[in-house]
Amino acid sequence: MKLWVYVLRRLILLVPTLIGLTLLVFALEHAGGPSVFLALYINPHLTGSARQQLVDQLTARFHLNDPIYVQYFYWLGAILQGDWGTSAQNGQAVTTNFVWFMPNTIMLTVVASLLTWVISIPIGVYSATRRDSVLDQGVRVATFTLYSMPIFLIGFALFLTFGTSWHLLPAQGNIDDNLLPTLSSKSWFDSNAVSYPTHIYLIDALLHGDVPIAWNAFLHVILPAVALTLALLAGIIRILRVSMLEVLDQDYIRLARAKGVPERTVNNFHAKKNALLPTVTTFGYLVSGLFGGAVVIEEIFGFKGIGWWTTMAFLNSDIAVVMGSTLVFGIVLVLTTLILDILYGFLDPRIRYE
């Protein structure tokens, strides 16, 4: 089964990419000189002899007086042990912060992706099969416009209409502010406003049977998720439509028709299966924009995920979090791309059986 070879090859390619990623982050962290690097681990409020002590410790630990390639290995060692520095905003370790905030972003992106696929496939297929119909033209105009809109505009427009002007849906944070104090009395909630076990309010509330909180949290997810979905939709529907049109021109579709297969089956089975392949590939390219978009959307809606946290860090010059974000997003993106590649290998028999 050639699929295993394919997967193995992709896994092997992963290694240089990850190493390169660490090199990139290392370069960024050291680009400003040792003092900038030290800021990753030193609280800016620390001064005087305590600070000097810490500086000496760090210099020794990271071998900052040795040549740069030596420094890289010690830095990498710290990274692998989970010490990515300390956030200047809340004094917590960078990794701890990520563990708190990452699940929310993952939930947001996963929900957006699923929604996108569920909506795009029927629309894209139908639009291609009823080419130039009123619906097709409408879809083309809509996706074209959405595609041209910067992500912040989509998010902001939703924010203004549904959140502020019409007050239909909450548009800030993960949960209503007035509910926060009530959370501190819950067993699954700690003093840092972090919920357990998944750190996602919605899921943890459901796990603990707290429906009102869960509902409230759910409402807060809607607008950000819809914003991300709209942005993704545009790209996916466009490529699906185009690839459906290409597929429908192919000989094997003509053969299916010549066989007497009903038009609906030809479109929804024979053609769609083939058209989805390049769409999955395109989705792989769009994931990078999806994560970037999540950053913007989280900032607009104050949705406390890792994107929001990174933006705050950026605006507050919290270098540890910014650099850590780069690394963690890189790792997540690489893993996501790998999973998508494997999925594609599974879907396309030409790769599965070669």
């Binding site: 053969l255 010549a258 066989k259 007497g260 038009e263 083939n274 392949l277 030409r350 059986y353």
Partner: protein, 453 residues
Amino acid sequence: MADALVIRDLHVQFHTRRGVYKALNGVNLRLRRGEVLGIAGESGCGKTTMGLAVMALLPRNASFPQGQIIFDNKDLMNLPREYWERVGDRFNPKQNERILRRVSKAMGRIRGVRISMVFQEPMTSLNPVLSVGFQIAEAIYVHDPASLAHRVLARTRATASQMPELLAILGTARDDEAAVKEFAAKHDLLGIEDQVLSVWRRDDVHISRKEKAIRLLAGQQIRPVERNIVETVARAGSIPPRFSRVPVLSRVVRRVLLKEGYRKARELLTSLGIPHAERVLKMYPHELSGGMRQRVVIAIALVNNPEVIIMDEPTSAVDVTVQAQILELVKRIRTSVSAAFLVISHDLAVLAEVSDRIAIMYAGRIVEVAPTDKILRNPLHPYTQLLISAIPTLEGKPVEGIKGEVPDMRALPAGCAFHPRCPFAFEKCLEIIPIDLPHDRDQLVACWLYEAK
């Protein structure tokens, strides 16, 4: 009717950005039942377009200003022609697409089951993401799921004692097909015929193995759910709505019937000369060679016993050795199948080997039709004569190409389309389009040279 298919004065045009291509300009053709009619001509003369027109598989920028395609006493070109008569020059691809969609729907009961087509490129004719077995099985499932149900039922009903009786009959019968049919009718084993005959008629295995295989057909065990499904479909003659509408159940039904379809596909592939058919069924098109793929496509075309089979350039996209195999296959098939064949090729040599009659096409019209040996020994139309002289032969006669080029289909010359290249052209040829003139008993020529004086 002695004719399987009649094409009368068919005109087909393609509307493109570069102009209107008049692909077919008054094609007249009669395909007789059971015959193999070859269509020869250079590329661009409209042969493929004609085949696609019969199947109603033309793209949306094709219009049909005139003509009829008569199959089973019905004109298949009714709707598109009406549209053209209404719309005339204000041709709109979008509107046309809707018309063509309706025609497609109407053709759903004909395509793949009464008229089927084998396309030119075996490399791209099969869906790359579906297994080969599925693509064959689907052809039966879509049209005649009941036959699949009957096959299963027949196997479950047949008892071990009936098989030796059948074998005895087969051993002595002259017409094995009729004998099996009689036996099946007598013992209420409708559906067993194909299965028995496909084993019996194999010429690559010893008779003892055949007998064993036929004996094994009897007494198949079947689970109650499957039995229910199969019996209902067999009784209803098709898949009843209460099966097809319910989401999960319809999938189960499909799976059961397709499984049987795979079995039938295996029988068919074996009879077409593909070894280890069970393994091939599970493969995907890219895993097969060009020759195998072509056989699969032919299997798809044959599987529902159509009345007309159109083969478009069956040998052009494959190499010479595979070409020979396919021609052998075609010759073998026509003895066991009652269909009429329309074989399209630019290679007269290929057509000479398989056809009973050959028709020559030029610039969207048929210019000559005659039985194969007559047309090869005594070609009447100047174009035919030049085509034949262009065939390389064993004698090593100098091969002459035909001077000039195929005319621009957007701007055909007046009168006979061939006159610019014809060494015998005279005034009438430049003005009036030749009509089909009978010659001898069974030849037709569209050339003024043969106008009876």
